[in-house]
């Protein structure tokens, strides 16, 4: 008897909507997508291929595997830069969609693959393009992946440094041991005093990596506004974005007050301070 006779008749198990999907879904064993996701995956696919960086970063592949050789993520995850490049170069909308759910976040961005690639592909770069895409569209998986970054994002957007001493809390970084967190149990003084013992005045704060002047933070925020970063963040987390805008409004107010306070000194100065309208 023919083997084919044992295969289930495909249309029996499908709804009308499912039956309208291309059969490749079933045959490749991928999980089914909702019609909304299917539509979105098509949009993402088109946007991805229209990105001006796409043709610059993805050139072709000899499948030598030298990229994967040095890849740290390939040793611990079901991930390889060669596979990512293949998905970018030859994958369809569904393949791309699958990669955007989780795999893109395995990459360590160490650029070992780029240095190794004998074909000149920018693999780390194309992974970043995929990540940007998933952020811009606020994919659910991406929102979950980036959930732990609210605090460092806030710091980065409003001050311009990514880490602060008060982020390295013993309860969150217990695996780093007692010394790394400058715990008062070890030294018997508060974190503020530990920071005072650093011989650089701008580092003597626990709230950011170093003290950043208000003007500098405002310049940075302006860059974010004018280069689409703020809009991008809005797609990912509208509430966080509104909070950032509020914080910056306060910083702008602070700047305006300081300008009144230091009016006389500022008048004698030339350059960006005089012309900068925060």
């Amino acid at each position: 008897m023919s083997v084919v006779a044992h295969l289930p008749h495909r249309s029996l198990s499908l709804t009308e909507e499912e039956a309208a999907q291309p059969p490749s879904m079933e045959l490749t064993g991928r999980r089914r997508m909702s019609p909304a996701d299917r539509g979105l995956s098509q949009t993402l696919y088109e946007e991805f291929h229209q990105d001006p960086r796409y043709h610059e970063y993805v050139l072709g592949c000899l499948n030598c595997g030298e990229c994967t050789t040095g890849c740290p993520a390939a040793r611990f995850y079901d991930f390889s830069p060669r596979e990512m490049l293949q998905i970018a170069a030859t994958g369809d909308a569904t393949t791309l969609w699958d990669a955007l759910q989780e795999k893109i976040w395995s990459c360590c961005q160490c650029y070992t693959c780029n240095m190794r690639c004998r074909f000149g592909n920018d693999i780390a770069g194309i992974i970043s393009v995929m990540r940007e895409l998933s952020v811009r569209h606020g994919l659910e998986a991406t929102r979950k992946t980036l959930a732990p970054f609210g605090r460092s994002l806030t710091l980065l957007m409003t001050v311009g440094t990514q880490v602060s001493a008060d982020m390295i809390q013993p309860d969150f970084f217990r695996d780093w041991g007692p010394f790394a967190t400058g715990s008062d149990q070890v030294w018997g003084v508060s974190p503020e005093v530990m920071r005072k013992a650093i011989p650089l005045d701008v580092l003597q704060t626990t709230r950011s990596s170093w003290e950043v002047s208000v003007q500098t933070s405002l310049e940075l925020f302006r860059i974010y506004e004018e280069t689409g970063v703020l809009d991008m963040l809005r797609g990912l987390d509208p509430d966080l974005t509104e909070m950032l805008v509020d914080i910056i409004e306060e910083r702008r107010e602070e700047f305006r007050e300081a300008r009144e306070k230091y009016r006389d000194e500022l008048i004698t100065m030339k350059g960006p301070v005089a012309s900068f309208e925060g």
Binding site: G65, E66, T69, R82, R118
Partner: protein, 345 residues
């Protein structure tokens, strides 16, 4: 009739000189090194692929037609340092042991060949620092002398890996072209070693195997008869393992899609072909166009690969691109015929 100048004493140059002599013309064969035979001689090539005939035998046939031939004047340790047109031929200056010497020649054949890629430039492999990382031209000499031993401790290796395309098909070292020879020569070496030393294991790391035409037979036999193992994927780095006693070759097995890390006693690099120093110098001296790769570009490469486009100036062998010995010998003959026709006119 003035002699025809043949620059380069490798297979293409020897073939050209021999052919000129057989046509009844005089050949002036100039070679910058102190011996004839080119790269095969220099690196003591062992058996030549694909017929597994000893290199000495093949070269011997060619040398026999040149050495002692009254129509061939051989000048070793000599370079061409200047050239002026003297229609229908050229006036050239030769620089040998005794200072410059002017000569009138009726035509010129450039058979200046290739250099093996210097594998130190692919520094992920530690060639030049780790003694047991060899270039395959060095292994040729070892096989030839039947002394396949690890340079570090003089012991026979148990496991040997070949890495193909070193300095070929690689933008990172500036050489995007294929050397045409790396696959077949590496496979031939693995076969030779497995024939003589079946206790040694042979692994070939490749991205594609280009044993084109009838050479495919050797590739098949290497697996069927000699148990050579092929792993699809390139080695990305070689480091020391086991306290420096062995080499650790890291790559991806691209068919299994997993990184691999395997200790070897010896790793052999199939270094590619680059335009030879002589090729670069002659291209400058004769104002010949070179391609982005640095090889000389023939006037019409498809139907007349030996014509440079300059009347009386012909090309043969690896000066115009990576080439196997039979192709170089054929081009030597073609160039000789064209030079002869020019000189007779």
């Amino acid at each position: 009739m003035n002699p025809v100048l043949v620059v380069g004493g490798g297979p293409a140059g020897l073939s050209a000189a021999a052919e000129l002599a057989s046509l009844g013309a005089e050949a002036l064969l100039v070679e910058k090194e102190g011996y004839l035979g080119g790269n095969p001689k220099r690196w003591h090539y062992s058996l030549l692929a694909p017929d597994l005939k000893p290199a000495e035998e093949v070269l011997g046939d060619l040398l026999g037609k040149v050495e002692g031939n009254p129509r061939v004047e051989v000048r070793l340790g000599t370079s061409v340092t200047a050239v002026d047109p003297a229609p229908p031929g050229f006036r050239v200056t030769l620089q040998g042991g005794k200072g410059p010497e002017g000569r009138e020649v009726s035509a010129v054949i450039l058979a200046t060949g290739f250099d093996h890629f210097d594998s130190r430039r692919k520094f992920e492999y530690g060639y030049g620092r780790y003694p047991d990382v060899l270039d395959f031209k060095e292994l040729e000499g070892m096989i030839h002398d039947d002394k396949v031993l690890r340079p570090s401790d003089g012991k026979p290796p148990k496991r040997i890996a070949w890495v193909l395309c070193v300095g070929s098909r690689d933008l990172q070292v500036g050489n995007p072209w294929c050397c045409r020879m790396g696959c077949v020569v590496s496979i031939k070496q693995a076969v030779e070693i497995r024939q003589k030393h079946p206790e040694m294991e042979a692994f070939v790391y490749y991205m594609d195997i280009r044993t084109y035409g009838l050479w495919e037979d050797l590739y098949w036999k290497s697996m069927q008869q000699y148990g050579v193992k092929f792993i699809r994927g390139r080695i990305g780095q070689i480091t020391l393992a086991e306290g420096g006693k062995r080499l650790l070759a890291t790559g991806e097995d691209t068919l299994l899609s997993r990184p691999t890390e395997v200790p070897f006693d010896m790793v052999v690099l199939a270094s590619g072909m680059e335009p030879g120093q002589g090729t670069k110098r002659m291209a400058e001296l004769f104002h010949l166009p070179v391609g982005p790769e640095g090889f000389i570009t023939p006037k019409i490469s498809d139907i007349n690969p030996v014509d440079s486009g300059v009347p009386g100036l012909y090309l043969a062998g690896a000066a115009t691109g990576p080439k196997a010995i039979p192709d170089s010998v054929t081009e030597g003959m073609g160039a000789a015929l064209r030079a002869y026709q020019h000189a007779r006119r």
